[in-house]
């Protein structure tokens, strides 16, 4: 080997590779990512994976215990509910619903939050005060209570529950975006871009926004878990998805009265919520460590 080969400059690592390098150091986050991938696959292939249609009632199998318990059968791996529907199939179809809800809620609140945050950060003055004060007012109320109020106005149902949760989670994104914009807007690269003639929209979306994304991605991941949890909570209170929709919270509410006779009707839907929420929280923690060293615990 020649001396020249030895001192060959090391190429700076690709940012994605560097991200993955840090991310995989956190075993919890990697587990979270795997579990989420599995849930996504299950949700996408729900029709193929679920052993039964989610609404099919088997009249010969009311409250059948899960396969591994006494009296259970592999025909219904996680047992059946009070009207003979297969719980596993309902949970798998529920995953589709929960991920969809999480995705829509996060997209809505992220898009609106970024817009309002950029607006507040760039305009300052009265617009900023109006936006930030409104966010403070929303934060003065417990999120679930505000969501309940919004659902009370719009009427119960899954779609309205989604809107309610998207509105409730708005303040976090607005605050994060505004704070990031204010931190970035006086930096040299932004001033340079301004001097080069960039207008406010270009400055906001092309120059500044990409540099504010790290905390927003983390918040979006954690927001996903909150959305899944809150939609389930509203469903449980009878204000979200309505029966017979296979939504996890609604399933729990339906099953409550049979809880003493059949533990499995409440155990599995709740476990599905817990595993999903936990995985997103693990992923969020890992992303925070990998994307933003300043936020590291």
């Amino acid at each position: 080997m020649t001396a020249a080969a030895k001192i060959r400059p090391v190429a700076s690592p690709n940012p994605l590779a560097r991200f993955w390098w840090v991310f995989r150091e956190n075993p919890g986050a990697v587990v979270g990512l795997w579990v989420i991938s599995a849930i996504v696959v299950a949700a996408l292939l729900a029709d193929a994976i679920a052993p039964h249609p989610p609404h099919e009632q088997y009249r010969d199998a009311f409250l059948t215990p899960p396969a591994f318990a006494r009296g259970g059968t592999w025909r219904y791996p996680l047992g059946t509910d009070d009207i003979g529907r297969d719980i596993l199939s309902r949970i798998v179809h529920g995953a589709r619903l929960s991920l969809l809800v999480g995705g829509i809620v996060v997209s809505l609140s992220l898009a609106a939050g970024i817009l309002l945050g950029l607006l507040a950060g760039f305009t300052r003055g009265i617009v900023e005060i109006a936006i930030m004060r409104s966010m403070d007012i929303m934060l003065a109320l417990p999120a679930l209570l505000l969501a309940i109020v919004i659902v009370a106005v719009l009427g119960p149902g899954l779609t309205n529950a989604m809107y309610a949760i998207a509105i409730v989670s708005l303040p976090h994104y607005v605050r994060l975006t505004r704070a990031a914009v204010i931190a970035e807007r006086t930096k040299d690269y932004v001033i340079a871009s301004r001097l080069a003639g960039a207008g406010v929209p270009r400055l906001a979306f092309v120059t500044v926004l990409p540099n504010c994304l790290a905390p927003l991605i983390v918040q979006a991941t954690l927001g996903f878990s909150t959305a899944v949890l809150d939609v389930a909570a509203l469903g449980f209170l009878g204000l979200g998805a309505q029966p017979p929709t296979p939504e996890w919270g609604t399933m729990l509410a339906d099953a409550r009265q049979f809880m003493q006779r059949a533990w499995w009707v409440v155990t599995f839907p709740g476990l599905a919520i817990l595993i999903t929420v936990l995985s997103f929280n693990l992923l969020g923690d890992g992303l925070r460590d990998a994307l933003d060293p300043r936020m590291r615990r």
């Binding site: 679930l144 209570l145 209170l237």
Partner: protein, 336 residues
Amino acid sequence: MLRFLATRVSLIVPTFIGVTLLTFALIRVIPGDPIELLAGERGIDPARHAELRADLGLDKPLLVQYGVYIANVARGDLGESILTREPVLEEFLARFPATFELSVCAILFALAIGLPAGVLAAVRRGSAMDHTVMAVSLTGFSMPVFWWALLAILFFSVTLGWTPVSGRISLLYFLEPVTGFMLIDSWLSSEPGAFRSAVLHLVLPSMVLGTIPLAVVARMTRSSMLEVMGDDYIRTARAKGASPLRVVAVHALRNAAIPVVTVIGLQTGVLLAGAILTETIFAWPGIGKWLVESVHRRDYPVLQGGVLLVAATVMVVNLLVDALYGFINPRIRHTR
């Protein structure tokens, strides 16, 4: 200190006014007008409808209506429940002690376990103990409260028979409310066994409601302790020959407690949100259950007044936490 408090109070006034705007708007954006709501399913003839509209001031401009609403709120008049015809404020005050009692017990539960767990995790950083505390607290943080409540009932009440399933006290006891706090009322009463019954009824709801704050307290204590343990004064204390227990309990924890106090204060909103679910499941006659029922019964004045009062409670608690924070941390008090 007084100036610090004055600034804080002046900051919450606009927010409170904003919340009144929100609750004022609430009753007006609900489909159907308030009079039809009051009349219920029987309906109302148009002449009476117009008369009532004038009586309630609904024919005046919105700004005037808002002015009247604010004046009423300032006098403590939040309207009355459509269902019971009781003033909303009275209904709130009658239920508030139940929620307060539950929340205090939940916070005590969270502190009793979360604080030592967080300290242990920080002191034994990287050990199996640390990993367990972190894993358990993240699980607690992700827990769907309503499911956790059902599991707790299933295990502790149904299977083991240790605690009652719901309510504040056994139906065998009838206590005249003195303070509204069941623990105190049952203690004061001469009924044998009443206090024990009240305590047993509190155990499960407090544990369920305290789970998320417990997770937050444990994580916060750990990270705050880790930060403090590397500081010079800890090394000095060690060098002076202070025992490890003294270094942790006296020198480190005292300073590490400051962010923990703030976090506990910020949990008020989380607690009230959790109380909505916990109270509904345990049939606990508090604010949370009352509000959910008001939505189901379409009792909008209750929802309107209740939301305003909950927001006011959260703001007052946050103010108290701020004051307490300024009190224990002089640096904050003097810099603003």
